[in-house]
């Protein structure tokens, strides 16, 4: 564990007692509802059947993982998942920050408030509904986007049915849905920047753009950093609901992801072991990514996220 050892003495233990007490309820709940069920991770190494239970199901070692790897599409599916998830991570970080910064430049309170409320709306629409709406908007023959392309003399595109475009459609529509909601956290962080800092910068002759660079960005950098590291936990999470509602066999090649793949396997019969194996794999990768970035940040940036 990082953190220097220091002699704290018995009085420290006494002083810290309230801190332990504060944590107690949270620790208990997490232990019961998160740690106890983790025993179920053994399913990844079993051929689990509800009738036999966790203790009675046959042990199969790494067979579930081997089985997953033996499917001809697995490699492509993992690759798709990584590409889609990573694109979403990167844009999902940049867009809300930029949007928050732009909104912060607007002085009219009423305008800012209305915009904030509006951009937060799409977050509440489920992909079942949005899938249908985007299908209409993006249709080559009737969709509005292609009508616009036609008007400016560009060739029409089959956005949802073309492997060249499909991943982009997934990433951009996802960003569209979440950027407003995602920017709330940065808007909140912006409010905590000490306004005297701007005045000081202005006196030093910094123009508005420079003030953003020297005051605003450093002011929210820590929260951006935290969000970046936490989002690494989603490195293999490409968005099940969205993909399920927007993909079709025609774009499996670029759009089929781990979760939809497992979902289709489980449709005929619940595949508890296979999905646990995938979940376990995903958790290990997420944990590694987060841990590595944590230690790197600490080591080289002397910055502690957690």
């Amino acid at each position: 564990m990082p953190g220097r050892k220091k002699r704290t003495g018995p009085s420290a233990a006494k002083r810290n007692l309230p801190l332990h007490l504060m944590l107690l309820p949270g620790i208990l709940i997490v232990f019961v509802y998160n740690y106890l069920p983790m025993g179920g991770l053994v399913m990844a190494f079993q051929q689990y059947k509800p009738t036999r239970g966790l203790l009675g199901s046959a042990w199969v070692g790494l067979q579930n993982f081997r089985l997953l790897l033996s499917f001809p599409n697995t490699k492509q599916v993992v690759l798709n998942t990584l590409i889609i998830a990573t694109s979403k991570l990167v844009l999902g970080l940049i867009v809300p920050v930029v949007f928050a910064l732009l909104l912060d430049e607007i002085r009219s309170r009423r305008f800012v408030r209305s915009v904030q409320t509006i951009v937060y709306l799409p977050y509440f629409l489920s992909w079942v509904i949005l899938g249908g709406i985007f299908f209409n908007i993006l249709s080559p023959s009737t969709g509005i986007i292609n009508r616009i392309l036609e008007m400016v003399g560009l060739p029409t595109q089959y956005f949802l049915g073309d492997n060249q475009h499909f991943r982009w459609v997934l990433v951009l529509t996802d960003i569209w849905k979440t950027f407003g909601y995602g920017s709330i956290i940065y808007l909140a962080a912006l409010t905590s920047i000490d306004s005297t800092l701007y005045e000081a910068a202005a006196i030093d002759g910094a123009n508005r753009f420079r003030q953003v660079l020297v005051v605003t960005l450093p002011g929210i950098s820590s929260i951006v950093f935290v969000m970046a590291v936490l989002s690494l936990g989603n490195i293999l999470n490409a968005g099940f609901d969205q993909v399920l509602n927007m993909y079709s066999p025609q774009v499996y090649q670029t759009g089929d992801i781990l979760d939809t793949f497992i979902y289709r396997i489980g449709l005929q019969q619940a595949q508890y072991s296979l999905s646990t194996a995938v979940g376990f794999f995903r958790s290990v990768i997420s944990f590694l990514m987060i841990s590595i970035s944590y230690f790197l940040a600490y080591r080289y940036g002397n910055y502690r996220i957690f």
Binding site: N73, S141, Q268, Q269, A270
Partner: protein, 482 residues
């Protein structure tokens, strides 16, 4: 019990208080529900959770996997004696409406371990719906062959009928699913997807047969001629019907429920007609069906009174027959779940009864459950052209309705039922999804011309290598033991 079916129940009835529970109680059977699921998928999950937590109710509705697992784990009661001793002949008839095809799944070494519900598939034949007004305008005759159908689609599209028609025939993205237009077209071309065919005493998978290859070649040809919607790869049923109702297409390969969608077009003053699908040759079109284990009801090995379950079936049968009005109301009927056995092929029976009524002017002496409701609605349209009140029922059960196609199929050997009627095996569950994916991609890319027809042979090899051979072996083992 399914929650969605009990929301609109008669005033005052609840899950705890309804005619069925009172009736069961009157006969000394005190029934309480362990849980109520929202839909079939939720029911499966809840039963699995109940199994995992060893908290099963006595009477359990199961799917085929659950049935098999419970049986293997000795968690099912042997109900042979209870069934033999208590089940009335009427109940036995009801449960064997399919000739005992499904019931045999419940019997292991001569002992009975549950009720497996009879399969029904008569309704599931492809039905063609087309714009009758456009047909007349274009000076065409109603279709009588496969070529006529494509010619009609071609004429509609080339003449841009209604100023809006730009699509010949629409398909949907899930090209292999039951009741989709693509499967309807395959069947009309004597090709079948994803079922097991008996060939020379062994079972063979339908999707790797030469007929399937030929059918795909023909569809690819129609696609190349521009007669199949180029955007079908992303459309679902809703989108396909949207094209039809908005006038972008005038020929739809559908099924007996087509009027539920067509009614919207009729309200926009379109005229639609229905017909059966026609083959390319003289051979009858056979509608494929997997005749799968659709559901069963079992009794927990921990329960004490398996005869109570059988007696509930007796009461169910007796009172739905004798006190039709009280117990056969749809909302009330749902309270009997999972004790519920649908009348197999009710719709084709009602079709015949209604047409007898139209020709003779009198109600047949014996009618099938549901007939009265159909009669009341359909007559509203037949006599008064009341679209909202009766178009749907009349267009399903009327003389030229969708059930006419079903009736034709019943009379003309119009079904291709999968020769495998057992419960889903572990390997089927495991390899099935992946094999289906490979097949879907192959079908779409061949129809769209992205891949030449020759790639079908690559698919066959892939299919065999990725679990297909294993399944073939398994299914044939089952077949030889039978």
């Amino acid at each position: 019990m399914f929650g969605d079916n009990i929301r609109n129940v008669p005033e005052g009835m609840t899950i705890e208080n309804n005619p069925w529970l009172s009736k069961f109680k009157e006969y000394g059977i005190d029934v309480t529900y362990k849980f109520v699921a929202t839909n079939a998928e939720d029911m499966t999950t809840k039963i699995n959770l109940a199994i995992a937590t060893d908290d099963l109710p006595d009477i359990i509705p199961v799917n085929s996997t659950q049935y098999k697992d419970l049986l293997e784990a000795d968690m099912l009661a042997d109900i042979t004696d209870a069934y033999d001793r208590y089940a009335t002949d009427e109940v036995k008839n009801l449960l064997n409406q399919d000739g005992g095809l499904m019931a045999e799944n419940a019997i292991v070494d001569g002992r009975r371990f549950g009720i497996v519900l009879p399969t029904q598939f008569a309704d599931y034949v492809p039905v063609l719906a087309y714009r009758a007004d456009w047909l007349e305008e274009a000076g065409l005759q109603p279709p009588g062959s496969m070529d006529d159908i494509w010619n009609m689609a071609k004429t509609f599209k080339n003449n841009k009928m209604g100023g809006t028609c730009v699509i010949g025939i629409g398909l949907t993205k899930n090209v292999l699913d039951l009741l989709t237009p693509s499967v309807g077209l395959f069947n009309a071309l004597h090709a079948y997807s994803g079922i097991w065919l008996e060939k020379n005493g062994t079972l063979a998978y339908s999707s790797i047969q030469p007929e399937y290859r030929d059918a795909l070649g023909m569809l690819a040809n129609y696609y190349a001629q521009g007669l199949i919607d180029p955007e079908f790869g992303t459309k679902d049923m809703k989108a396909m019907w949207e094209d039809a109702i908005s006038g972008r297409s005038g020929v739809v390969v559908s099924h007996f429920c087509a009027p539920f969608d067509v009614i919207n077009g009729v309200k926009l003053e379109q005229e639609w007609a229905y017909s059966r699908m026609f083959p390319t040759d003289g051979q009858p079109v056979k509608a494929q069906n997997s005749a799968a284990f659709s559901g069963g009801v079992v009794y927990s090995a921990k329960g004490m009174n398996p005869e109570a379950m059988i007696r509930m079936y007796n009461l169910y049968e007796k009172f739905t027959r004798e006190d039709f009005a009280t117990y056969n109301d749809n909302a009330v009927l749902n309270f009997a779940y999972p004790i519920y056995v649908g009348v197999v092929d009710a719709n084709p029976k009602i079709y015949r009864e209604y047409n007898e009524f139209i020709t003779t002017g009198t109600k047949p002496a014996k009618t099938t459950q549901g007939f009265d409701g159909v009669l009341e609605a359909a007559e509203k349209y037949r006599l008064n052209q009341d679209i909202e009140g009766g178009y749907i029922m009349y267009s399903i059960f009327g003389p030229e309705g969708t059930e006419a196609a079903v009736d034709y199929a019943i009379l003309n050997d119009g079904y291709m039922v999968s020769a495998f009627t057992g419960a889903t095996t572990d390997n089927m569950a495991l390899y099935g999804a992946n094999l289906k994916t490979i097949e879907e991609q192959m079908v779409i890319s061949i129809i769209k011309g992205d891949q030449p027809i020759g790639s079908f042979d690559t698919f066959v090899a892939d299919w065999k290598a990725n679990g297909g051979d294993v399944l073939t072996q398994e299914v044939n083992d089952w077949f030889s033991k039978r």
